[in-house]
Amino acid sequence: MNMASRISAALLILWMAAAAACAPVPPEFPIPENVPVPDPAEVESVLFLVGDAGDARMEHSPILQRLRDDVEGWSERLEQDSTVVVLYLGDIVYPLGLHPPDAPEFPSDSAIVMDQVAVVAGPAAVSRSARAYFLAGNHDWGLEEEWAGFDRLTNLANFLAAANATRGANVAVAPDPGTGGPHVVDVGRHLRLLLLDTAWWILDGGQLGLDDRPEVLSRIREAMRQAGGREIMVAAHHPFRSAGPHGGEVSFWRTLGIRYLLTQSGAVLQDITSVPYRELEAGLRSIFASEGSPLAFVGGHEHSLQLFEALESTDPAYTLVSGSGSKLSSIAEQPGMLFGKSAPGYMRLIVEKDGGMTVFVEATGAEYLSCEGAAEGEAVCMEEGMAAVQTVHFESLR
């Protein structure tokens, strides 16, 4: 072996050694033993948080079916109308949003959307005016900047308007395509939701001339100021922080360092480290510094379930990530993490009449992400997957 070969081999092996030292360690949190059961008579409203469900089909997804049952159950139990709300936290349709009706992709795309509409289209949900807001994700923009992405999102808005008319389901894209937001929703007497289109921000939808970033920040500030005594919950596709790949927790080893270094350098647009994402974070932090931090910032984007408490004064009191509606991605332990799990699931926020708020994290086994083509049979898989859904964590937020 000549010197050049030796040096090459040494460099390669040292690279591998360095890589092996940089793998994220998944956190482990125990399953709670005594999960409190909310008394419906004491509950004012219920908010469901599910993200990145753009690959889920009702007949193959135990989580989607369980979510529908949960929405239907709470719609029946609560006294008041319009007190059950579902937030779809973006990436409604993979891989490139809802194509136009004349496109060959439309039948499969629209079937995916209709399955999410069906969650709030049960008899109790319709009669009690349960609502579902569909927040835009980067995939709903078709990963496109400018008008092509705007058109893709407008297809979704039009489709949901039609579903609203035909199925009676209370569904809509929020905020309106191309506007950035926030879309303000007051839920009961205690909670104000600010729904943002962060994909619009990251993909620079402002260049469409419909809106611009300072306007959006100004409206967020105004909506927070006018909240009265309500707690603020900001919801968007992109999370405020994350212990998943988009948050920089990338295994060095799996991509030979390429993804890791690009993420750390801020070259990957959809990662928290990219310049537009950091500008969004800075804009929000400046608002939180002057108006006070919101109770929670809710996002998807990462295909896992995460819950953090604030570490800095301009952090939201809690950061929730619920993006495992149809995909899973890795997760690592981070400071301030109260819970984290890479498993199919969703979150349920119970708002009590006295203003108490508790979030319950519902998840099933990773093997039940999709029952399509399951070896033991799809029906058996669905039954087992739904039976395996359990509360893996709960946290009192207020």
């Binding site: 072996m1 000549n2 010197m3 050049a4 070969s5 030796r6 040096i7 090459s8 081999a9 040494a10 460099l11 390669l12 092996i13 040292l14 591998m16 050694a17 092996a20 030292a21 980067n138 990963l143 030979l256 390429i258 270094l261 690009l262 750390q264 350098s265 801020g266 070259a267 990957v268 647009l269 959809q270 480290t273 990219s274 310049v275 537009p276 950091r278």
Partner: protein, 170 residues
Amino acid sequence: MKRFLVLVAAGSLFATSTPTAADAQWQNPVIGAGIGVAGGAVITMSAVVFRARFQREYIDSTDDLIHWQSLPMILTPAVGVVFGLAGQEALMGSIIGSSSGLLIGAAVGAGTGWLLSTEQEAPWGGGMIGAGLGMTVGGLTLGLSRWADDEDPNISFPGFMRVSMSVPVQ
């Protein structure tokens, strides 16, 4: 695992087999190409980071890789083959020059990023851009300067790479 890999790395440096001239004729271009692939990845990543930090052009899908910034993935292995064909000295020079250029460039870039910006990505970005720049400059400079030191500075292609062509001349 880590210790084992480091031991193997150290051992490989002191391996004692000596190549024959015929082995070296095909080994060197292959090594040059292999190192060139790794170097091409570093230089491409450096270009990607440069465009993201200074031109706001990011990686968002695989389509974004079809761009001039990926040209080093082709060019650098080709340069490695040329240095390999040029001879042992040129190849060694390019490897040592690019490796040390990578390290120095990364250090200088990271330091510059840290000094000029408070963003936590700035030292990484500076390091990546510096690494690519340092690798390119170091590899080419030392490779070309050592090329002249080779016993036979003319490129000699191995037999399997030669193409004979005869042109009738009147």
